[in-house]
Symmetry: C2
Subunit: 310 residues, 2 copies
């Protein structure tokens, strides 16, 4: 019987206890799932970066740390973490991200807010948005999430460019890479969506210089990671009109402090890190699959490369 | 040289004069386009239902009336109109409708308004919408526009049902028809989108009885025609909570009068008949193609069936 430690916040236990037990049973695994296994006896750690566990050194037997989150930047540099670390790549999370990104791109493309906020009896017709084909959208980051978002937007007719640090090829997208590709990807884009992992290289990738490359009045949508954007540069670009609106789901500090200028800015929409939330049922199946692989001596899925940081 | 009369509002002339001239030239047609041809000498009438022309009897030579609009219900019963009447079926209009419908379905699905209207410093996390696959969406009307919208929504993962009066089969949609099918299509739907033509049969198709079939807290989206909905029944359903929100683009009277209760209702979003607007460049190419067909003795595209009314 494998001892699986659940190391996340108490609320997560309520959400995950039954889905994980069900998924282990369906995978034919004999698992003792608990929040209080002795460290030296633990075989697997189901882990959330916002939970209490920080010191992995006592878990000498643990075969893997299985994250419930896709983003692992707060844990990847932990020197006590010597076990394989697996990110969660959840199809439910990808679908949720596609829905959130597509919805907010369409919201800005269609100019919905003017109507949602302007129910004042004035019939504001005569202003048609361009068709999506005339709206260049750039995705910074075309990993699993970014590529899926790009394909959904392309299917709706948007002119989509995807950028990544290393060369990638995603169907229906104009794919660019590297430093020169970044300039080209951002130049004259009317919507930019940031879906990069958080690393030293991607920090502040949207800054005064890169925001200036976008089309005047562009929209910024960040469902990725807070530090991808230089907050001060974004506020300045919003005030100058270079950026028409920013919809931000992630921040350097979460919850976003109540006195942060993003809350009060009329051209910023703050959403509370909801773009893609892990669904317990689908996440549990993926955790169970990795335990099954560990028990069968097979390679784990979605092992984090410590050099790359994701 | 064909004499083509332009019979629409003066503003439309500003929008259409050059696109139509260009399209006629590109189609190799010799056309005299004017707003003031003598009725008896006019070969074709380019027509908008909100323009001045009401009496078609003097146009004894006209081979066709070519509408700039998709909806022709205000003209189809005109007894002086004996010439073939062609609706505009514009791929740009279809794309625009797909973008508007998809955007507003996603807006309601994601609960965007709570964030757009609630930028008050409160971090409202913990409430995730279901995935699209768990959100049943019903389209009333699966003609060219409805079918395209249904397919875009299905591609995003929504569980889409399409209803039409006569049996139809649209890929990726559960298709129902007729009176029994209507009950089944509406039962437990969480979003309903009305894209039917306006006829005696479709008038008030959303009424107290049919609204009650939807899931509690459903969303109504009407980019079709105002009379498809019984306004009083919708207001009552909004007040009872049966309908959570209605986004309405079309009305019995347009512009919607400033004192209409839809403007003031907190759970209604009025948009000013913008869901699908005809783009002059694409529309002009379609008008030119029908003139070319008329000159070549070929059947016109999109001739209205006077019995069906569309």
């Amino acid at each position: 019987m494998s001892k699986v430690l659940f190391a996340a916040k108490p609320q997560a236990w309520d959400d995950y206890e039954h889905p994980l037990s069900d998924a282990f049973a369906k995978a034919g695994l004999s698992v003792d799932l608990s929040r209080s296994h002795a460290a030296a006896e633990t075989d697997y750690i189901v882990f959330a970066p916002n939970g209490p566990l920080r010191d992995f050194a006592p878990y000498v037997k643990a075969k893997a740390v299985l994250s419930l989150w896709a983003g692992v930047e707060t844990i990847v540099g932990n020197p006590t973490l010597t076990q394989p670390l697996c990110r969660l790549v959840d199809p439910g999370l990808t679908r949720g991200m596609v829905e959130w990104v597509t919805g907010h791109v369409l919201r800005h493309h269609l100019g919905m807010d003017a109507h949602i906020l302007g129910q004042d009896g004035i019939w504001r017709d005569g202003i048609s948005p361009p068709l999506a084909a005339e709206r260049p959208v750039t995705l910074l980051g075309i990993g699993a999430l970014g590529a899926a978002c790009g394909q959904a937007l392309a299917a709706l007719g948007f002119a989509v460019t995807g950028w990544s640090r290393q060369p990638k090829d995603v169907a229906n997208l104009r794919c660019l890479h590297g430093a020169d590709g970044l300039q080209e990807a951002l130049r004259d884009a009317q919507v930019v969506v940031t879906l990069l992992p958080q690393t030293a290289d991607t920090q502040n990738i949207l800054n005064a210089r890169t925001l200036a490359l976008l089309a005047k009045g562009a929209f910024v949508i960040n469902p990725g990671r807070g530090p991808l954007i230089d907050d001060e540069a974004l506020l300045a670009a919003l005030d100058s009109g270079q950026i028409a609106h920013a919809t931000l789901d992630v921040f350097r500090r979460e919850p976003l402090p109540v006195d942060h200028p993003f809350w009060a800015h009329p051209r910023v929409t703050v959403t509370p890190h909801i773009a893609a939330t892990t669904r317990p049922a689908t996440a549990a199946r993926i955790i169970a699959e990795n335990v099954r692989r560990g028990e069968a001596g097979l390679p784990f899925l979605n092992v984090v490369d410590r050099q790359l940081g994701y």
